[in-house]
Amino acid sequence: MTVNTHAAKRPAPIREGGVSRSVFVAFNYFLLFLMMLVTLYPLYLTVIVSISNGANVMRGEVGILPVNVTLETYRNIFKGDILLYMRNSVLYTVLGTFVNIVMSCLCAYPLTRKSFCARKFYTAMVTVTLFFSGGMVPMYLAVNTFGLMDSIWALILPGAISTYNMIIIRTAFASLPDSLIESAQLDGANDLTILFRIVIPLSKATLSTMVLFYAVSHWNSYFDAMLYIRTKTKYPLQIHLRNLLVAGIASEELQAAGTGQAFAVTERTMRAATIIVSTLPILIVYPFVQRYFVSGVMIGSVKG
């Protein structure tokens, strides 16, 4: 496989084939439409449940349109320190993703260099971690030993590289032609330069996907924060949201002695609103990432 080194745009589909092609296209559009519908309805339901009155939702009256629209649920969620948590989450996500991408690229590149004398060793080192890990307690001990407890680094360093994602990046790097790198070497470029000036720019599509994957996993993660963060003002958003999600169940346990549970009526609306609040930022960021792999991508602009 060769890679063109000039800019290439994905062309509009060429009208070719005959009747069978049109049948296929029509069928394809319909099928995708159907899929969209099947996915959209539950999500639509989540939205309308989140803005409906709790009692109506509970009685099962909300199905097509919201009933007795209220923003009370959102007001409840946004009560307290939620903006602080949100700010923390953004910080952890941005910094964490940056570290992830840099580290993963650093790790992936040497593993693609066939001439690298320690390639086999490093590949083995990395692959083993796919299968074996110490588990929660040894990790906790390690984080404690390294003095990371209750700091932002406890959320970033222990997961600095996801070996899965790193391997996907490696696959993308490996699909670039060797000739490109060899010629750069002949021009006197060192590997660091080659990585950052040639390899990374040429793998934008995959890397942007990885940015998305890493960012989403940072955004959604709560487990590490729960273990390693002691100070409430450092909590990420998800800790708070997750706690809200199960609040109904938890408060029921607390009421062994028969204390009331006014929350029951708004439990479902609360859950729906929580999903919306945690998904919305991803929804907003997604289109910016999406253009890299949907509308075609500049395949490099390096002069050979």
Binding site: M1, L32, L106, F116, G134, G135, L141, I167, T171, V294
Partner: protein, 314 residues
Amino acid sequence: MTASGPIRAYKNSLPNRAIKAIRRDRWLFLIMLLPTAYYVLFCYYPMFGILVAFKNFMPKEGIWGSPWYGLRYMRMIFADSYFWHVFINTIVLNLANLAVTFPAPIIFALLLNEVGSLAYKKTVQTITYLPHFLSVVVIVGMINDMFNSTGIVNTIVKSLGGEQQSFLTSAGWFRPLYIGSNVWTNIGWDSIIYLAALSGVDMQLYEAARIDGAGRWKQTLHVTLPGILPTIVIMLILAMGRIMNVSFQKIWLMMNGGNQQVADVISTYVYQRGIVKSDFSYATGVNLFQSLISLFFVIITNTISRRATETSLW
């Protein structure tokens, strides 16, 4: 001082060759420095925790100080006939799941790729990746709403003259429901990686194929698929590595007396034993066993794929 060109060493002694190689690859070693530090500190250092599977773990003594227990936990696990039952369940469920959920996003990505209208394509994509973000509780709640005795599915079945099915409590329906809802949840999200790979397929190849008179179907078969094959293979091998992982929470919520026979998997069983919570040694033992099984699956897949496609994990 550039390390370029094939300079052959004539002094062929081993240390000399090694030094030469290290000198030549010094930039690569340098690049690898931070990742190596990461793997040593955060993967290998805690990995000693695996020893706990062979010890009677005492929190006060730490991992090293705890007394050895030998293979006691392993024996406890393997002597249990029900463990093997849930082990088979786990593998069957995951293989079936893989057989459906693995190709689905690829087909979806290919179909999406055939769409001419950019706006339509973007819309479909944006909407279908969203279920990925729903929590398991919500998804199982929806399954229950749709498939219970008065749910929409049974209503349709009955209106078509069929007999009411107990989807939620029959052993036969558990796997289809579990797998089907997995497809629904993840098809959009999982296709992202293939779409990225598709955008990397060389346009010139399509042009060349067109000149050769290949139709859309032929182009898909001979250009598109080979173009994204390395990605597919790697994703498959990685998926094999997770063959023992199941969504504990989802199964736990979907399991009942009617379907337990097929739904009970290792994680739910271990959870029921009530051991995991406090018995860290037992849990580690089970994890170690699961790791070994997935390693076995990956080695097989990797070997096959290396022979067949020249793409492999190592």
